[in-house]
Symmetry: C2
Subunit: 215 residues, 2 copies
Amino acid sequence: MAKTESTTPRERYRTQVRAEVMERAWEQIATAGASALSLNAIAKRMGMSGPALYRYFANRDELITELVREAYRSLADTLAAAAATGADLPALARALRSWALTDPQRYLLVYGTPIPGYQAPEDTTAISREIATALLDACAAALPPAAPASPLAAHLATHRAWAANHPAPPEALALFLTLWTRLHGVLSLELAGHFTGMRFDPEVLFESELAALLP
Amino acid sequence: MAKTESTTPRERYRTQVRAEVMERAWEQIATAGASALSLNAIAKRMGMSGPALYRYFANRDELITELVREAYRSLADTLAAAAATGADLPALARALRSWALTDPQRYLLVYGTPIPGYQAPEDTTAISREIATALLDACAAALPPAAPASPLAAHLATHRAWAANHPAPPEALALFLTLWTRLHGVLSLELAGHFTGMRFDPEVLFESELAALLP
DNA sequence: TCCCTCTCGTTAGAAGTTCTAACTCCTCAC
DNA sequence: GTGAGGAGTTAGAACTTCTAACGAGAGGGA
């Protein structure tokens, strides 16, 4: 509140316009995908001319970066909110699936085919670490007391720099990676439409994978 | 041979030019991704002017369709060749991974984020059925004699239209879907670069998934 | 062998895109 | 009130896909 009042009117207007641009961008992405995102079209829909948007975003890539950041933020918050209510690993996984199905293009923007020359900025990796932490916590909690030492866990015991500050045992790291890739496997193929025409329920497959993860 | 000689010189020239266009297109896709594919750039690199390519491809989408078809064909042939040498399920899976790593953009073109308004033609689904058949055969062969009836298998027993002409039991269908999504989960995240910076070996994860599939 | 036809490649141009440059105008801060 | 600077404008360059109209040359039939 106090911080909001300390901003100048111009700053407030600026953040408001930026927010509206991103809102329109999400609308456009949801219908036509990220590669069809057009600054010109957004500007026209907002009632101003194309180049005006370059006051707010240096270029198309910066807008996409901001969208990616927002998507990561949204997923991290979703998982954090679920974890705060005491959700266990399956509940977190279902929250992830629900988040993905809410806006498929948003999921594909961050976890789908990367934009050719696009490089993710550092702070998005920080948020993705938040996401990993939420899942890692749940993985460590879901782990059976006497978890079998798999070859993957053995490998991760000596390659755990990416989770250096997390106290989870190697078996939990292995569970996390397995969880992540399996859920992404089902979700990405489902969202990309590779199951359409096959006439089975992807949710059954998703639940099957979930059940297989936790014996 | 006889068929080749029965074609007219114009036809032969036409197919040759189409092949060269697609070759250049693959080069471009390999370096900059499918969304950066430019007909103009291809034409210039071939020493002719932009619109000339429209004699060979109705539009950009038709070129991409042809590339997708070629990629599917290549994967189907790769798996068929492996299966012909008596490769079992793990060997087929490794052939798939090797095919994907050979040209990441080629894999992402068919199994990655779909092009916005793009619709796959019917004959590509026929080739993808070939791919599924090769894997389904191996799944049926790899299945233990007394396979446990999972909820997924029960669901697929009544939703097997996509594999209607294949004699595999529901348990094999379940194994196939599980195999497909798990391998794709590892491969797509690896190819999209989501593991870079984590400094572990994706192959260990891939082998771990493979081992988990066949107890 | 001659000639007609058809296909190929060309240039011109329309309608888009991103993005820069220069200019006006209005608002905010002093 | 007035100066400074930010916002939005138009013009335009350099791209893109794709259509239209044209010239030239090669192929196939008589």
